[in-house]
């Protein structure tokens, strides 16, 4: 009934004003005419009541609180970065300094080793090793004060390297000179006083050298106390050893 008029307002006009009425935007006179039409019209009245009730119900719904972790989840899912605000509000844990971290790392490494080292057998071994090393160093003439004064700079290390290698070469050359002189002296000695070999060896050498017959040298005997033509007789021992024979019979 769009053309039906109640209290000077038609239904189509009522519908046009419906939203303004619900949004409280109607002025005094229009508002009164609108309300009067709603009361009188059997179609518009119930419709308006339903729409107004529905709006009222919907307006009763309040905003719900999102879950606390939602922002963090969104940031992690979208940009992969955690919340800066949360990071700033969360009390920051005491961050250990570099020295503390190194000490912790060294402690974590040394604790199991230290536990093993403190066992008596290992302690004795390490003690002996240390003693041997210190003795070896003191014999070699190395002093801890020398190490302290060592120049560990790049040029210092290079200088030390060249000095040491020059010393080694010089030492080697000296040793070689000494050995050469020594060998010359020995040669000179040998030339002036020839050495005399032993009597038996001398004779054997002599016969070997004098054998000019072309015959082969007599074969060396295997049986040093017997002649070549002497027969070897088998002799049964007077007390033969008892031999135990074990027979394994196969069962067929």
């Amino acid at each position: 009934m769009p053309g039906e008029s109640h209290n000077g307002m038609q239904c189509n006009e009522f519908e046009a004003l419906l939203f303004d009425a619900l949004d409280q935007k109607l002025s005094g006179g229009k508002q009164e005419r609108f309300r009067a039409h709603a009361r009188a019209c059997t179609k518009c009245g119930p419709m308006f009541a339903e729409v107004e009730a529905g709006q009222h119900w919907l307006k009763s719904l309040t905003e719900v609180e999102p879950p606390a972790n939602l922002v963090n989840d969104i940031l992690a899912a979208s940009s992969g970065i955690q919340s800066y605000r949360l990071q700033s509000t969360v009390p920051t844990k005491h961050r250990p300094s570099l020295g503390e971290r190194i000490r912790e790392w060294v402690d974590s490494l040394l604790t199991p080793v230290w536990g093993t080292v403190r066992q008596p057998r290992f302690a004795m071994s390490f003690g002996m090793a240390f003693f041997s090393l210190s003795v070896a160093l003191s014999v070699a003439g190395v002093k801890p004060t020398d190490l302290k004064q060592a120049d560990l700079s790049r040029s210092g290390l290079r200088r030390t390297y060249y000095t040491t290698s020059a010393r080694v070469v010089k030492y080697y050359e000296n040793i070689r000179l000494v050995y050469e002189i020594e060998s010359r002296v020995q040669e000179f000695k040998r030339a002036t006083t020839p050495a005399e070999p032993g009597p038996k060896e001398k004779e054997r050498d002599k016969t070997r050298k004098d054998n000019t017959s072309g015959q082969p040298e007599p074969r060396q005997e295997r049986n040093y106390s017997r002649d070549e033509n002497q027969p070897v007789l088998a002799v049964a021992p007077e007390d033969p050893p008892a031999v135990s024979v074990t027979t394994i019979r196969r069962l067929v």
Partner: protein, 199 residues
């Protein structure tokens, strides 16, 4: 500086890769988007997932936002609405078209809607009554068709004006008003029916 200018500045910073600006955007809009999703999808878990999806999509397409073409809020709401429609289509097969007396899901009490309305008549506590009434309205809202539901959510819960809603839903303003009217009336009828049943 006006709000729109602040938002546009934030968007520019986000596009340039400023993570702090992006967090500011999330802080500004997550509550609103979560509420739209919650009222449309009906459950907190779905709303949480959908809100995350909206922001992921927003993060990826932020550089396509054109200031000249409309307010950022309208752009965000349109994106939310489109994802909600997609979600509605995807879950259409799974959804059981149960009656209004069906047990509610998720964090709500496992009590039929009519029982909760019945309890309204003699509540031990006014706060409980209010909470249960809101829950009943929320449940009734889920019974509306998605077209009517989105229209009343944007108008009555998000206070958007008709022109903005028309831009989001991509329908004429007259259609928006008609849907809002029908949605409100349908909701009232649903709730009145429940009242009549329990009285």
């Amino acid at each position: 500086m006006e709000d729109a200018q602040i938002v546009n500045g934030l968007i520019r910073r986000c596009v340039a890769g400023d993570a702090v600006a992006w967090e500011e955007v999330v802080q500004r809009y997550h509550r609103r988007i979560f509420n739209i999703c919650y009222r449309f999808a009906g459950t907190s878990d779905d709303a949480q997932d959908l809100t995350q999806e909206v922001f992921i999509k927003m993060y990826r397409t932020l550089n396509s936002y054109d200031v000249e073409r409309g307010a950022f809020m309208t752009w965000v709401t349109t994106m939310t609405r489109n994802l909600l429609v997609d979600h509605f289509r995807k879950t259409k097969q799974d959804r059981v078209t149960d009656s209004i007396d069906a047990a509610p899901s998720d964090h709500e009490d496992a009590m039929p809607l009519s029982d909760r309305i019945e309890d309204q008549s003699a509540p031990p506590d006014a706060r409980v009554q209010s909470r249960e009434a809101k829950q009943a309205v929320h449940q009734a809202l889920q019974k509306l068709s998605p077209e009517l539901r989105e229209a009343v959510i944007l108008r009555d819960l998000q206070d958007m004006d008709y022109r903005e809603i028309a831009a989001v839903l991509k329908v004429p303003e007259g259609t928006v008003k008609s849907r809002i009217n029908r949605g409100r009336a349908e909701l009232a009828r649903l709730l009145q029916r429940i009242y009549r049943q329990v009285m």
